[in-house]
Symmetry: C2
């Protein structure tokens, strides 16, 4: 096999994001909209009444207690970074989110979703601030209108170009959605494999310059018949387990890049199954937030109880997720790279420093 040349910053970034064996065990604490919503519900107040400091200090506490379990922490530059940066250990990589939380539908169908950047934030700033990689969440439905598809594709391509310019790894998160009804339905569960795989087919095109894909589990175990004895089972089935395993393999076949699984806020029990099935299919690990720590909202604002939950149950959740990811495919073993022994620095020569 020919050697695979990787640019210096991306190579070093990959090494930092994963553990020494090349497996990603990453924590997400970049939630903004969903965290404000959860805090408002817990406190019985309206979302605009949730204070910046409440969000920032909860993120700081979660980061302080859980980050040591992670190979990398994904946070946001608004609520997360300014107060949590000192809580991320030296050997845990820093991922910074680039997109504004949520989506807008202005100018397109109200059922379609446009992603946008955080105002007054740039990838150059992220790099100077110490980010080891950039994360972009793009909502994507392959059957959206041409205008929506174009907007999302252009946005991803812009971030790909900027990451190339700054030589930072680009981690693209793709999140599907329903044009009608809810994603928590038998009907959407049936659509999900197709939506996830078609989105992967789009954004693995080299023109997007993506390095790692952060993907939804490509099926819904709530609607998988073998799980009917589990607490998360929804009461009806879209498919059987062997079909789900097949979907994971098809996703892996479509993904010409290393990929990791996100949790989308499912319970930890279901997430562990997702990680096992995804890594058996070829995933290189996970980037998980709420499945590990979302029960903080059950105790909030009792900080002592929140702390106790984080130190005990949430830490156990993280250990269990890490154990499930031991089966992950090291990123450098993905066919895109072909093994650690085949990886070389791009332009490796005595002139590298001049040509870089």
């Amino acid at each position: 096999m020919a050697t695979t040349a990787i640019s210096s910053g991306k190579l070093r970034g990959f090494m930092k994001l994963a553990d020494e064996s090349g497996r990603f065990k990453m924590m997400a604490i970049d939630q903004r909209g969903s965290m404000v919503t959860a805090l408002a519900e817990t406190l019985g107040i309206e979302k605009p009444q949730v204070k910046y400091d409440q969000v920032a200090s909860l993120k700081t506490l979660i980061t302080r207690i859980l980050a040591p379990n992670a190979t990398a922490v994904l946070t946001d530059p608004i609520y997360g970074h300014p107060y949590s940066i000192t809580e991320i250990p030296r050997d845990v990589a820093l991922l910074l989110a680039y997109e504004e939380s949520g989506y807008v539908s202005e100018g397109v169908s109200e059922n379609e979703r446009l992603s946008n950047p955080i105002a007054n934030w740039t990838i150059g700033k992220a790099q100077r601030a110490g980010a080891d990689a950039i994360k972009l969440l793009a909502y994507y439905h392959p059957d959206a209108s041409e205008a929506t598809l174009q907007h999302q594709q252009d946005f991803v391509r812009h971030v790909g170009d900027e990451c190339e310019k700054h030589d930072l790894p680009f981690l693209l998160e793709l999140v599907s959605y329903a044009f009608e009804g809810t994603t928590k339905s038998l009907e959407f569960a049936k659509q999900k494999p197709d939506l996830v795989i078609r989105s992967v087919e789009e954004f693995t095109d080299p023109s997007y310059k993506v390095d790692i894909l952060k993907l939804e589990f490509p099926a819904d175990l709530k609607y998988t018949e073998e799980y009917q004895d589990r607490g998360f089972y929804a009461g009806e089935s879209a498919y059987g387990l062997s079909e789900v395993e097949d979907v994971c393999r098809k996703l892996d076949a479509a993904s010409t890049l290393p990929w990791v699984i996100l949790s989308a806020g499912v319970d930890i029990e279901e997430f562990i199954e997702n990680v096992k099935l995804a890594t058996a299919g070829g995933a290189s690990g996970f980037l998980c937030g709420r499945a590990i720590w979302k029960n903080v909202f059950q105790s909030y604002p009792d900080i002592a109880a929140v702390t106790q939950f984080l130190e005990n149950d949430a830490t156990t959740n993280f250990h269990n997720a890490n154990a499930a990811a031991e089966n992950a495919l090291p990123w450098f073993e993905h066919r895109h790279y072909g093994g650690a022994e085949n990886i070389r620095l791009e332009r490796q020569s005595e002139n590298w420093h001049e040509e870089y």
Copy 2:
């Protein structure tokens, strides 16, 4: 005490360069001129006959075996980085040298030294390549001509400005020299405390924007009477041990910034004494190369023997240096920072991402 505000990139860089307790245990493998000289001597050839690949591959081997003992590795972008980058573990920070190896004396007295940048290399490139901090070696003699002083001061200030712009920690190495004769003399040993301390007084001026000083031991233990039973003793004394201890304290008083000790190629036995005395005086650790690994040249080109030396004696040297540095002052305990509890992100607020 008031809180100390640190910019994001510098703060994250500091955290990565030091161990979790804030002590620097860093390895230098950025030697170029001195390594070519040593290889030529060992092989009995002229310096121009030493091949690029010989230097690069020896650096790669040293980095592979010794880097896991370090909190950070300093390498150079010419011989070191392109072939060693994959050998630096994910939890070991990367320092890149900015200066061209050696010095020139054009336009000034032949006894004076001017430092210059590596051609076609920039601090922006270093950041993109994954550097966690920038190192600059500047030769400095406080009694040099005005033109030489100005050149060196301007060069340091330029790097300080660039590091501020890219928000990378700036580690300045100051190396003194003799206008006449050799630095290996009783006379120079007597001058050394004054030279080192006056240089520190110059470059701690905030206009240089230095973050960490990498300093020579401010006396010469070869000329210290209490060491007359040691193998490194030169046969005559410039001072006694209590005077050396006093010099270390005076250096620390002059250094309004955290400082670390370099080895300048002394034997490991002497270097361990340097580290003990410097850290007792207030140093925050070391950045050491040859004292740990210089005996590779005794076995070169027998790579099996070189490897064995690195895995055994050199590793023991590193462990001993690390143990001696356990007494170092954590960087955040330096009076410039005033303790971890007083450190805050600069512009820490909900507008940080906009103002940064």
